[in-house]
């Protein structure tokens, strides 16, 4: 247990100064949104598709007020509630898509890297093609496919996102596997008769999976932007299915010209904040996990006193 805690604390202990504060800020923001997402039913004053309370209908596009902290939108929904419920939708979609990515991409990369051969070459080619192609365009095409088949639900959008992000996990895991499988300890394991499956599970897995958390966090940030982009184009989740920030922003476009700023500003800010938080966490993790970025602590060198010399550095 202590080992795990120490591992979790590494990003904090190994950074210093402003870098640590940025990481802390990122974690704090992310945690706030996670809390909003988890406890939405209790934190949000109203439901995400609720248009009246106690028989009184909400105002249409009403300005922020006591009853509606962030105002209401044209569909008579409370903006504050939809922002909070939107956090839940965003977290749900992103977590689901990352889980799918990891569940599919990591084993695939592991197996492909380990066995090599023509299967590996084909997979690499497919994944490279997918990876190189603008992911947002693919996301549009795939979201059509999935929302048509299973309806505009969280699952459909999550699947679309997974498809475009799996190549990243695959590549990273595969490349690490390819270099790791030649290592001596693997050879030794083989020598003592470990089967392929055991080697992959017990020896390689721990090694290759190290970069996944960083990838996952940065991916989550991008996924939220993609989700918002899809919602903005009108694909996927509708108002009554769930609250989604991008969709609300799309509806708010027409409002801003009429001086109704609250319907667009707050969902927009929510996106910016959550993505910023996740990116800060991801980058902060990167600076600890990635050995080439790790700050090497300079130990002060104590030298014995010596005479002044006449040689000085004449550079600029």
């Amino acid at each position: 247990m202590r080992g795990v805690l120490r591992l979790l604390a590494k990003p904090f202990t190994e950074t210093a100064g402003l870098a640590r504060w940025m990481l802390v800020a990122g974690v704090a923001i992310t945690v706030i949104f996670l809390v909003l997402a988890l406890f939405a039913p209790w934190i949000a004053p109203y439901g995400f598709a609720q248009s009246s309370a106690d028989g009184v209908r909400f105002p249409k596009a009403g300005a922020p007020s006591g009853d509606h902290l962030l105002g209401t939108d044209r569909l008579f929904f409370d903006v504050f509630s939809r922002v909070i419920w939107g956090a839940r939708t965003a977290i749900e979609v992103v977590v689901l898509s990352i889980l799918i990515c990891v569940a599919v991409g990591v084993p695939l990369g592991l197996v492909s890297g380990y066995y090599g051969g023509w299967m590996d070459r084909i997979l690499v080619m497919i994944m490279d093609a997918l990876f190189a192609f603008p992911s947002f365009l693919l996301a549009i095409v795939f979201s059509f496919l999935f929302t048509d088949i299973i309806g505009g639900s969280v699952l459909a959008v999550a699947l679309s996102l997974s498809v475009i992000y799996i190549p990243q996990y695959f590549r990273v895991v595969r490349n690490t596997t390819v270099s790791a499988k030649e290592a001596t300890y693997v050879e030794a394991a083989r020598a003592i008769g470990a089967s392929d499956g055991v080697i992959m599970r017990r020896y390689l897995f721990g090694n290759v999976v190290q970069s996944v958390p960083v990838l996952g966090t940065l991916n989550a940030a991008d996924a939220i932007l993609t989700l918002a982009g899809l919602g903005f184009l009108g694909l996927g989740i509708q108002s009554t299915d769930a609250a989604e920030w991008g969709h609300d922003l799309n509806r708010a476009l027409a409002d801003a010209g009429s001086g109704i700023w609250w319907t667009g500003l707050f969902p927009g800010l929510a996106i910016v904040l959550l993505v910023t938080g996740l990116t800060l966490v991801g980058e902060g993790l990167n600076e600890t996990v990635n050995p080439t970025l790790r700050r090497r602590r300079l130990l002060p060198v104590v030298m014995s006193a010596r005479q002044e010399t006449t040689m000085t550095e004449g550079g600029n």
């Binding site: 569909l75 929302t147 048509d148 509708q238 009554t240 476009l253």
Partner: protein, 540 residues
């Protein structure tokens, strides 16, 4: 270093621009000459409609017909704010009997390239439209009375259906009594006259190359971007008086169009600004919001052969609590008008049958209807709509309908939405008990709102079949007497209000927003949705 090179480039670029600007003497007001007559300045129309094709053989949508009405002539046409048909290329068209229509062309008609327009061009236009049978074209759907459809779907022109005894006479021999045919002739997608020497007989002509005989000719066309129309010097008709040049700019987002008309980047914005945009522009002093009667409708269709819709009492009760005023107000900010009949006002023979039958929304009356029929309340009901075909306010309307039905205490509604592609298939398969559809008229006659809907389930296959309705439709299509037709239309609308195969919701207004210096815009805003460029002008 890279930075330095870039700065140098930028500097050079700025220098070039400023030098070039010094030597500029053109205020940019329409470069190419050749614009013949015309009154006033060129002006810019902004719209979100899309053009499918400018070759009439390949179009059946408003975006295409908007340009075609100005570029081509048809035999007959509908003047602004009227439901009479008058001659356009034809002097007149008369029914010798309900199956024979004779048109006499005007003398001396020419296309914009100087070629004469004669009856052979008319025959050619119809023949090629039917031969091409383009999936997007209107001809094969609207010309049922002169064509025959084989089992495999191939459509052929009936033998001898169009007779041209001389250069200025065209005789149509219809295969059934059909007095709506004269109206069909007003629609460019079905009846625009093209130059037989320019248009190929078996395939569509590229959009940029089309030639017509209308008041304007096409000078430039960039699909999805803009079209430029210039006055046609060879036009001899009455529709003159418009500007020498009209630019049509296409927008994909209504909000972008709204900003453009606010900032004066376009002079007229027509179709389709969203309800909040229009409401906001009404408070803006720089622009004027003009509205005329519209013809686009929204209606809710019952699956009459479904488990819930089969009970007339359920359908009638829903119609009894349906509050279309609230929908128009809440979902559309009052930019649409409540529709009390499937035929919108402005069409001869229209009557507000639903209001006459049901009066205002009344939950008690509705309960009575259900109790009398022994229906248990609350009745369970699946209501369907689509977010991707009818604009963003469709969502508002669907929510509103759900609220109204549930607040009456008589219905328990499950609201479902599907993207348009799926939607079209599954509503026919019974996925919903009540679902939303929209409609646009094909021609300026009440028949276009009745025969596609009530005859044998309608195009939407909702299972409604009534002998009385079928007879009435045959009767109105078989007689030429306007008074008689209006009477029959009235009966049909009453029948619809009684049987409620669908519930009309609203009729859109024909709205345009224009900036300073524009005149004549109001004159062309009528239910025909023809935007007549020749009526509009701009003074500086």
């Amino acid at each position: 270093m890279r930075k330095k090179h870039l700065l140098a480039l930028l500097g050079a670029g700025t220098l070039i621009v400023s030098l070039a600007a010094c030597g500029d003497d053109d205020d940019g007001d329409g470069g190419n000459g050749g614009a013949g007559g015309g009154v006033g300045e060129p002006w810019i129309l902004g719209t979100t409609d899309t053009v499918t094709a400018l070759d009439p053989a390949g179009s059946y949508d408003l975006g295409s017909s908007s340009l075609e009405y100005n570029l081509y002539q048809t035999l007959l046409t509908v003047p602004a704010n009227s439901t009479d048909v008058v001659g356009d290329a034809a002097e007149s068209c008369e029914y010798d009997d309900p199956q024979t229509l004779t048109c006499t062309l005007k003398e001396g008609l020419e296309f914009s390239n100087g070629n004469p327009l004669t009856s052979s061009d008319v025959l050619y236009s119809f023949e090629r439209a039917i031969t091409i049978q383009d999936a997007n074209g209107a001809a094969i759907y609207l010309l049922g009375s002169i064509t025959d459809t084989a089992k495999d779907g191939t459509v052929t022109l009936n033998e001898g259906a169009i007779e041209t005894p001389d250069d200025t006479t065209v005789i149509f021999h219809l295969d059934q009594p059909d007095t709506t045919f004269q109206y069909v002739l007003t629609y460019p997608g079905a009846g625009a006259i093209v130059d037989e020497d320019t248009f190929p007989a078996d395939e569509k002509l590229a959009d940029e190359e089309i030639i017509g005989s209308g008041p304007y000719k096409l000078s430039q066309y960039k699909a999805g971007d803009q079209a430029v129309l210039e006055a046609n010097e060879n036009y001899t008709g009455d529709n003159t008086g418009g500007a020498p040049q009209v630019f049509v700019k296409y927008y994909s987002e209504p909000s972008a169009l709204k900003l453009a008309v606010e900032n004066g980047e376009v002079n007229v914005a027509w179709r389709s600004l969203s309800a909040p945009d229009i409401a906001d522009l009404e408070g803006n002093d720089d622009v004027t919001v003009a509205t005329g009667q519209g013809a686009e409708i929204r209606y809710w269709v019952w699956k009459v052969d479904g488990p819930v819709g089969k009970d007339a009492a359920v359908r009638q009760a829903a119609a009894q609590v349906f509050d279309r005023e609230a929908i128009a107000e809440n979902a559309y900010d009052g930019t649409v008008d409540p529709l009390n009949s499937i035929v919108p006002p402005g069409f001869a023979g229209q009557k507000d049958s639903f209001e006459e039958t049901y009066g205002g929304p009344d939950a008690d009356k509705a309960k009575q209807i259900l109790d009398d029929a022994g229906i248990q309340t609350p009745a369970e009901l699946t209501v369907g709509w689509t977010p991707t075909h009818y604009g963003p306010s469709a969502e508002d309307e669907a929510n509103e309908v759900e609220r109204q039905l549930e607040e009456s205490g008589l219905f328990d509604v499950t609201l479902k939405s599907t993207e348009w592609e799926q939607y079209q298939t599954i509503y026919k398969e019974g996925a919903y008990d009540l679902f939303m559809l929209g409609w646009f008229p094909d021609y300026p006659d009440a028949d276009t709102y009745l025969s596609p809907f009530v005859v044998d389930g309608g195009f939407f296959q909702n299972g409604y079949s009534s002998d009385e309705a079928n007879q009435l439709v045959d009767a109105e299509q078989g007689t030429e007497d306007p008074a008689e037709r209006e009477e029959i239309f009235g009966q049909l609308q009453d029948l619809v209000a009684q049987d409620v195969p669908f519930i009309p919701s609203w009729v859109g207004q024909n709205t345009a927003v224009y900036g300073a210096g524009m005149e004549g815009v109001e004159d062309t805003l009528d239910p025909s949705f023809i935007f007549r460029f020749w009526l509009v002008s701009k003074s500086s």
